[in-house]
Symmetry: D2
Subunit: 366 residues, 4 copies
């Protein structure tokens, strides 16, 4: 991993995601430009601290010497460094998972495209939303022609956390995103608009052919856009809207995609990622849920749990493990463990319920 | 881990959850009574196959000899074996995370309670639902008196997967759950009713004092209940309903808890685990979302992501990593990687949008 | 109309509902036992004040003398008077629409049953919920066997307005409902529980054969129940729950019915009366909306508007008429009329949009 | 009423809405250009057939001679006739409620504006959506500054009923709306886009200053637009989107408005008209329901029922009256009346529940 030091939001998320299925392990990293901070992060992540390097160049060089050196690098650094790191990693024969954007400029992206092809290595962008099972269901349905000819595609991505000039108040996440020197030419459109754009093409399978963009700088003092609406025309003739905002006060992370073909329409919202609504031309309205046996193969392949278990079920159980670990380490967990006392209670409930119901004699003490 | 061999549903879920935060690692297991199957599972899990044991007794004995032996064992075997394994593990000085139910009978549970106390080890039941951040918010709010005096508690847990006699049609999950020899005295009530019961006490902080149970065997041929409604009276005088069913055709995993005090009511449903609705006595209705800065400390401690990111976000990103891994291993992922081509597209979108909006000249090609 | 004087809640609702389709007109009434108050109400309702009678006996006698006398009487008086009024009206050859309960006691109800049969007149109870189109859809689907054999029926009706002892604080609606002298033997169960019961039988077409009731008096000082849960066994063997509460703090008027058969389950909630959710045994989930062309004949017959127009659309338009009337009467409406100025704005918008889009020349002033 | 003959959709809606509160009565009309058809409609509406005129000119002339002549005329004719009728009515000293659009062209609207002013009569447009209580709540909140400075306004109005070329298949509603000769210059934008535009200005209290329109003709053969997205800039500097479509397959009548100020955001959707969601800048999320005691005065003035009764409650009760009327007329209602038999059942339920609960003796027969 390059980047993702102590205090990073996205570093731990990538680590957890990468390791979730047990096939990938974090073993090395250049977590910070500060060698001590990088080692500290390595320690926190539980890796061999000798593999917590001061910079990515050293990491790539040293890892190449090992028989158990890294196969894959995750890039979670500021946008302006993605290009150089990706090129170096690919040059060293290492596969790449890069945080978006791929690069700081279109010219770099075109250049990187060539580097990828020459390298024979894999290069992936972590457009996380494309990983949701129900968006893959949507994509498969569209590809199979279930909606008929696509006519209209509307993606919106509304957040409200930049409704105030928080970048002037020590908010690090806001500071670099509103600074052209670090964020590049796009503010809101670069941060979240490209997610909306990517999703429009990912789910529809269609290419945006033309855009008519309207960008706004709403909060006084902003240099980059904090709100944007882009009218789109797709290559197949469909019309569309790609809208994003970071000044939609009170919105959390409201990503939504709707597509309409001549046979029906699809509706997916990040607020209920396990659900896909389909409104058919007949007037029938259908809801598909993650885990349903009737989903397409692609959606199945992206599902770890049976129907009715929201995708956060693993995190919930992970919290129980975290509590137990804290208890073992003599750190009081915020929430008490459900332990043997609760086990006894449940067994008591069970026995009284079963025998009570059989005897049909009304109320019983527990 | 004891149990959780190839084909198990809950084994991989426990592994992922235990390892999610990077502080716990699966290193040994007795995954199956069949030694070859246990080794095969060990291999699949990527552990040292010498630590994939043929039975838990061997595992506990051999691990005790190692300086890096196991600290914690997860028990995911059939219900009737939980008691013996937990006793053995605690006797060997190992902490325990047990799948519910704690034991097969109330008598065993009371016995295990003594064993736990003597052992000085931690014993936890994996009541996964208690790990949801918004249920911890609910619990904290109730404990802080936000609802006033609790008056009414309604928990329902409705599933439909046993609406047909699938246990007669090679459904392994159904077969043991409907078999008294393996499931014990309770069918639906033992499988999911105890979750509802546990949640009622966990969130309310109140104890059920009396129950008036009604159990049904709806599907012909069933020996154990497949539907139950239990009227409850709580120690503090509150009234309640604990309802569960596995013949509620079409329901997935519909767990819901509502509590009303004299100041307000809470509503949480597993179908939207990130959301907690509060209806105040004033008529105001409030919705709290996971990740909100105003949540209680307990809810915060159970949160890994900022607001608006559903708890399944990590799984979504994990799917991207899984796709990349498959590509690297020359296995075609079901869904194409978002790679450099998409990176170029996004940069093109971004540049055209920003420059187009600045020039205010209408439509531009992409 | 008998009852429904100035200040009544249910009187005007009945008047509006009765007259909605233009086939029934309010022409006479005994709106109050106080002759002056009755005349005053008659005036407010815009009827001939000579037909605003001091009591129902006079009304029935005088109207019988007219060639244009009343055909139908609506009874919206306190519960204990329903029986006598209904008997008198039927005796006078007038059809009856009675607010529920039919009578104050079961004995009276059985007696009234004979009176109805002898009279040859129609007698209807205004169980308003049975009028919703989507509940009629539900009923028709069940009757046609769409759900297969019914197995489980759960109706809940939760309100919170009696969570405080408002009957001691000048709340007239609460006062009579909590007073055994006026409300009869049932509090919450008599006020709303019977609606839940009626709906269970109406939609399912099945009869409740046995009940196991639990009634609570939660708010100190109450003589009648304010919360009840009734376990039910239906004649066909289905199991059920009929639950109601008026101390569910924060709940408004939360009536919900769910039914499960061996082929699927239905879910309807008063909070979204235009919607019926069907979860099929196959795992498919369907949503039907009022006005859909594919609804059953019964549901169609109960629909006045095309799909997507919530049933309150008529009230919304009625508000516009009300505003206009106030303006005409020189009473300032709370909300300004949408008049010719708005008409000009809209036409300007329309022309600029159409010509602007044709010219494709970007921004235009409005 | 001018227009609204037999078979009309909007005529009966206007009649019901106008008469709902009992202050306005339909007494005369020119329901059709065909004198016989007009009389037939008059008969169906239950008015004096001598006041069912062959044309509006005759109606205005004849009614002016009566002491009880009409005060108000409702215009529900095709768009191209609105102007002439409104001018004639105002000229005759009659107030006007006109279906939108006000006129066929902007020039006519400006002319009509002068006529209204000279006439001293009231002229109202039936923008029905502005009658919803919760939109009036929204408007009042914005006007009171609850959201702070408005920054972004998004209105969308999506329908799917023109996704197929139904105008070629005998669909009268579609035929005139897609015909420039009758509908004027706008298709979708004229039919529903102006509603969205009107709502944007009504709720926000702000004026659209500039628009950048994109109109589409998606279904082959269409001359007028059937889909439109208009970027908007408001006079106060806020940015906005006004989107409408009639080819959004599967959508019913999906009107939604969202507004964001620097303090919070509002969200209202026609699919749940009784609900207003407010997302505050603090991260708090609030839901307000029609009938809540804490609503603004404007919202209260537009409410006929207490909280929790959806605005369609009156229609539901009207269905019960309609069933009773059919029974009286010896027409079998689609749904059986809830009559004395159900009354007896309910009383039996009530008595058994209350006495059974008191005796606490378990199950009782009903």
């Amino acid at each position: 991993m390059v980047g993702g030091g102590i205090g990073s939001f996205i570093g731990p998320v990538h680590r957890r995601a990468a390791e979730l299925d047990g096939n990938i392990r974090l073993v090395a990293g250049a977590f910070s430009r500060d060698p001590a901070a990088s080692r500290q992060a390595g320690e926190a992540y539980g890796i061999d601290v000798d593999r917590a390097y001061p910079d990515y160049e050293t990491m790539l060089r040293e890892e190449a010497k090992r028989t158990d050196g890294i196969d894959l690098v995750t890039i979670v650094t500021p946008n302006d460094t993605h290009f150089a790191i990706a090129c170096a990693a690919l040059g060293a024969g290492v596969h790449v998972m890069s945080d978006k954007p791929a690069t700081a400029t279109l010219a770099q992206a075109l250049e990187l495209s060539k580097v990828v092809k020459r390298s024979g290595r894999h290069y992936a962008l972590s457009y996380s939303y494309t990983g949701y099972a129900m968006l893959r269901e949507a994509r498969s349905m569209v590809a199979a022609g279930a909606l008929g000819t696509l006519r209209k595609i509307v993606v919106e991505y509304y957040q409200g956390w930049l409704a105030d000039p928080v970048e002037t108040r020590n908010n690090r996440q806001a500071a670099w995103r509103t600074d052209p020197a670090r964020a590049g030419i796009g503010g809101c459109i670069g941060d979240i608009g490209v997610h909306a754009f990517n999703l429009a093409e990912f789910v529809s399978g269609e290419r945006v052919a033309q855009i008519n963009p309207e960008l706004q700088r709403i909060v006084p003092g902003r240099i980059l856009d904090d709100d944007a609406t882009i009218l789109a025309r797709f290559a197949n003739g469909a019309t569309g809207i790609i809208a994003c905002s970071q000044i939609a006060t009170g919105e959390r992370n409201n990503l939504r995609i709707r597509l309409w073909g001549d046979k029906g329409g699809l509706d997916w919202s990040h607020e209920r990622p396990d659900l896909l609504t389909i409104n058919w031309g007949s007037g029938k309205s259908e809801q598909r849920h993650a885990g349903w046996a009737g989903l397409t193969a692609d959606a199945h392949a992206a599902t770890r749990l049976p129907g009715g278990h929201p995708e956060g079920f693993i995190e919930a159980l992970a919290n129980i493990y975290s509590d137990l670990r804290m208890a073992i380490l003599h750190e009081a967990p915020a929430t008490p463990l459900q332990g043997i006392e609760e086990g006894v209670r449940s067994m008591s409930f069970l026995e009284q319920a079963v025998t009570g119901a059989a005897d049909n004699d009304g109320w019983r003490r527990l």
